[in-house]
Symmetry: D4
Subunit: 248 residues, 8 copies
């Protein structure tokens, strides 16, 4: 550790106090024992490992994927178009693409999955967002159960799968239109529910704002909300919670 | 009928063509066979019978109540304050007041009630709006069942009353916060559901706008929405529907 | 009925109490006498019979249409593009398509239509939404009268068709821009009015939000509102109301 | 005229070119032939004559009223509370106050009124705003006809007064809730309609925003809109239009 | 006049009272002395003469243009694409098209123009909307002065044209972005100002909503506002006002 | 368990199959082995244990507190006014009140607290909401660290407490105005962050909507959002997560 | 400086490397040469010197004022009520209060003022906000010129003061209603303009949101915007700019 | 100067007083010593020098670029497409184009750059807007430091560049999504910060409105905001401030 070395050198008289001061002023973070920060950033904020592909320039995208694959032996990108996949696959032939979730990745084989996350959707049109959540959680090493098309307008569908949902450490509920799914699930489970409003709908759905408001105003407890269509964010947070529940 | 009389007079030469033209130009509606229109207005738009008390000047309020009582033998006012009730009661001692619904009225005794309307609420705070709906429907001669505090965060409460709700001709669903009640009911009954968003909630409930959006975007069928806190409007429309179902 | 059978078996000692408990816990709904629920779902929420085509994957769409046609002998889809029609027609040559309403369907011949629903529009640009409502209602067995282009800026057009509108059990009023049509009709009839805001307009019409607000704030009675451009929803609810009025 | 005098002095050698340049640079407007501007400002923007009383400090209000009365022999204030009236009347005993319009004024007697402006309202709750418009127009010398409580939910009330409305040079239409009155009137007259949304309503009326949007999106021609509750602005503009129609 | 004839016939015994009643009930408007209404509708609401081309089906557009041309000897359409022009010109070779205003028309030659309307814009990007206003006003027989690109960020441009603006009977002010032009002009003239917010701008301009709010809140007097980009509506109302000022 | 008893009775021939069917149809939930549901509801959705005091009628509030205290030996209410406290204390002298969090409660002594939740605020004005979260979490048996007034405009305050924050299982971040605290914390920890927008601010803070939008759009991972000022909801969900992390 | 001392001690062997590491990890900021940060915070973010009084608890407010006065010999608070002033004056008799700006302060005498800031308002109702800006700037040592009530509806008022405005280093423009003042000034000066929307207005002014949008969309250059009614923020930033222009 | 000449002529009797009056009335501005105004407009509002290319007609764009190049020897255009560049380059072969900032220009060589402006972005997607700001500032003769991708979710990136940011006269902070960058920077520097919300984001980012609200509500001091994506406006204002700091 560099900060340690600097201090050692000061202690041994190999570095002047003034030089040490300059060092600490210039690099307060990286050299300050924040290696931990660096390490957990890899997992956490995706700059290192998870690539938000949409809008990236072609050459940037290819080089980012190459660098991450070389560094980590795996790489994971969200919101990728098929064209982007075709492009990057030319350099990384092992790359796979899922058209539903729009995820492209190379994943280390034999990853162990722990705990359980339930990912639910109100309708079939929400599945794209749900798959982004589910596959993100799986990539981060969590076991995922999918319970799709269990919207509140046909309650028996949801209730018949209740045992599966209730056995998870954390539930992701993705729904558009009126977004009531999260409230109903919140009333039936005693685990945290991550609600994902989707942009599914038309007219007064306001591209997901209505579902977002529904979920934020939920009268059930244990519900918190991420951005519209943010399957990745929901999958990431569900992973954090599930892993908390499985540690020890 | 006046139009008929005018034409009779023209036919008998008792009125000139010019006088008749002036008559038709001046009174195109009232005298044109629209007596029906006048008659149904009484029932329909409340100008004659239902008084929106809030904001009315004291003397106006008293004289309107007196005139309506004299004319119809009953009178019905919504959104009345207790002070307004005390005021009007000085002239109309038979007047009664319900502090929950804020309705004050004199009602003809022995009114026959037909059919069935189910009035549901998500929480106890929505009961004020629901009572406005229920008592309006009762005043117009409908039988009403009240199913209160059956919000989606505790689904079994709703499901245990399902038989009552399913047996109604029309359901009124009043809910604030996320307003998901209407969708869930809409998925469980095959009768029209009148959804009433209420201003219950705080923060992102936006004084009922969130619940309104939820209800308008409902993925269930057979749901239509009235204004925030508009219990009267819901009760009125439910009455129209229930009476349709009971005629013949 | 399965629940009945299970209880019979318990009564006859052919099934243990524990097995019966497991059964009731696992299948609280489908096996609990909710056949009624299942049956009315067919009519009601369209999962079985009415297909929202927009956004469906090609192969899903074809197989859904095939399955529903086989099951019911008829099939009804809304928001279909011509390309979707061409696709499905390859498998179901009897399929017909209406470019105005964007409905594609196979309908059983000789369907009896009962009662009367009046479907009105403010302008010619609202006709697409109105046809979705009208054809939905007709598919569900209701008689429909169309009264188009009777917007409030030319009131005599509306008034000259008033007798037709007043004779219906239920009125659907579709209008964009300022959406005042529903209020004016609500003041002239004593039957329920289902208001459909349309996205017709520009600038401050906010893609239908302005018309939605107008209709929700209507000072006339007996009006309730569905989502912007939701002709299907209006037609479905009008069908529920009209059939109530014609039963017995 | 000062600019004239300056130039005369330059011409006569009584003022140097430098002094004249300084003058023109310093006072480009008042001295530049903009007397006309000054004169019409008195009539137009109310800084001189019309006082927006709400929020004015007591001493400011009294001195403004005194100064204007001394200068013009009359004075006109809008949005005045009764307390403000009591205050100012101590100095100006001739001051009168109208509690409905909240206007307080001293008006020159025997003012001739020309032309005709029709001021209409949807309901009785809009009358306060309408009176502000009507009394403003009257103060500026226009003849005003009042046609109140003719909202679109009871169309025959409006139609029975149509001849009065059609004979005006300009119509002011004040309405809250859904604000449809302006569109209906716009379809029945061929004169300019000034639409005033009012804050009358509740819930989704959004304190007048809904009525504003309705009026801005009107499908009728010849309608323009002023701010919510801006009776003064409507009355002022109606005055400009009516006087145009009566000059010559 | 038909109503007159009917009454004459009743008076002469050539028509029974019952037949006359049926006539008056069926046609309360067209036959009721509202010929004036019909006549001014031609001028006013454009159903007869002004065609909103955008979104019209090709065959409808062609037949409407043909019918109007045959009936009136002229025809005027707004929001036309060049493709629509090419299409209709095949049937009506005299048709002309202006790509800036997107107006296509055949106009009677030698039309006399009266009075004066000033049409102003804040920037060059607002000219398209302004030309729709100006050419509409010219088609209806008004003289128009164009004062373009005089936005408030370069005030001297506006002030140097002030004499032209002040000499008009009515001013149309079209501006996007912050839309301050209308207020500044309203402070400089004593004639009605019709403010047209345009959708010019980006970001927080919200497609014209910001400019609309600016104009509605104007602190200047004599300003009223039409819908975003509604050049036609502004030109129409300006025409009504200008013609009022020139009658007699 | 009742369902068990019913089946036992059927098995023993003490109850007919028809009676059993009626039982299962009438009470599908409570008697269906959902005791678990009932039990966890106590913990979860607060109907049993946590009382939202604001707006409750006086007599209701007193009786709810009494019943819960008798049933559970403790009782916990949020959003209580001092007047409500004074009222209930007359019946429950042990009741305590915290004016900052507005919580009133009787808590069982010696409650063991596990794990760690960090509750942070941007400013001092957010402390009221934060205390609601912290005391809720403590009531449910969690250890809480408070890190207040560490808003992003003085970053060193936050960074100097980073070790405390990073050692928690879950972080609650409450902030008003621009609400940036959650993002900054999200970038510094690898545990779930529950973001609570507060209504602190003025002008464009829109009573917390701005902070809500900031938090929903966070570019950091592992953040989810609850309603504006919903300290209780955040504390509840943080409790669920922390307890997950400490079970085993 | 502490960091220096720590390093000196390490260098002299008086502190172990481990102890030094712990120090740097614990206090990365305050001890890291960020004294500069601390120093400029005093001037900048007002935690030290400027007190936002509104909402502060009485005892907090008094102690903050006392501590700051003792520390700095002066103290400055914004958004203070008269009651707060009376309270604090009991402890600090030298405290002065300005009811217009709602500022209470003790200011060191003989403060030198440099440069020039012009503070302008559209109307008289904006003066409260403008005075908060002006007095803030004066407290921070800037010379301020006030140019009030020069709104765009009376342009000559603004133009007659143009020389004063053009001679400032920075202009603060405070306006409510349509907020056009900033754009007009931006077009007339070549110095930065800080625009302050005020909540002055009614109806569609949306409590200042309309003025905010106007200013953000300004077509003039050199304009940036602070929060609604944020006179302090504008005065603070103007001070930063003016002092930049006067250094050297 | 013309005004001077006119006065000279009046003084010499070569021009009548009436002619001079007409001159001053007609041209109050251009001839009134506002040459300064003209001169600074060149620098300031870009009508002369900076061209907003987006939406300009091809022939207009070419002629504007040619005229400006001839007049000034340099020319600068923002929001240019590559196609526009190809077009104008045919006439001005020296024209250069930057695809990131979308700026096309001919710049005089050897321009001296003074002072320092720091331009920061939250992410890489904000660089396009930041480059518009940076290159605008450079064109106007300012030295610019770029500090990109230092968003708040990875704080150490920002802190490691703090010395560069703190040494600037003015900071431009461009960020989308939650837009928290400006607040964090505002808390770390004592110079003015121009915040530029960008439209980067999705869902509840509302095309930049969320970032705009965040920035307007900043709890840090010394921050003001320009329109969404308005890099040019930020660069222009930063230039004004930086040059103030470097004059003398």
């Amino acid at each position: 550790m560099e900060a340690h070395e600097v201090l050692e050198k000061v202690s041994r008289g190999e570095m002047s106090v003034g030089e040490a001061e300059a060092f600490f002023r210039r690099e307060p973070f990286e050299d300050m024992g924040y290696a931990k920060l660096d390490t957990h950033r890899k997992l956490r904020n995706g700059a290192a490992e998870v690539v938000f592909c949409s809008g990236k320039a072609d050459d940037h995208l290819v080089s980012i994927f190459q660098r991450l694959w070389e560094q980590n032996g795996e790489v994971f990108g969200t919101r990728a178009s098929r064209a982007q996949y075709e492009l990057v696959r030319q350099e990384l032939p092992e790359l796979t693409y899922d058209a539903v979730s729009r995820i492209m990745k190379i994943e280390k084989p034999g990853k162990k999955k722990i705990g359980k996350i339930a990912v639910c959707t109100g309708g079939t049109a929400d599945i794209s967002v749900a798959e982004e959540a589910a596959q993100t959680a799986e990539f981060f090493g969590n076991h995922v159960d999918r319970i799709y098309d269990v919207g509140v307008s046909g309650l028996h569908r949801l209730l018949s799968r209740l045992d599966v949902i209730q056995s998870a450490n954390c539930v992701v509920a993705a729904a558009g239109m009126e977004g009531a799914l999260a409230s109903v699930i919140g009333g039936l489970v005693d685990k945290p529910v991550i609600a994902v409003p989707t942009s599914v709908g038309y007219g007064a759905s306001l591209n997901g704002i209505s579902a977002l408001l529904t979920m934020i105003n939920s009268c059930a407890n244990g519900i918190a909300v991420v951005n519209i269509d943010n399957g990745y964010g929901a999958g990431y947070m569900a992973s954090q919670i599930n892993r908390l529940g499985e540690r020890s």
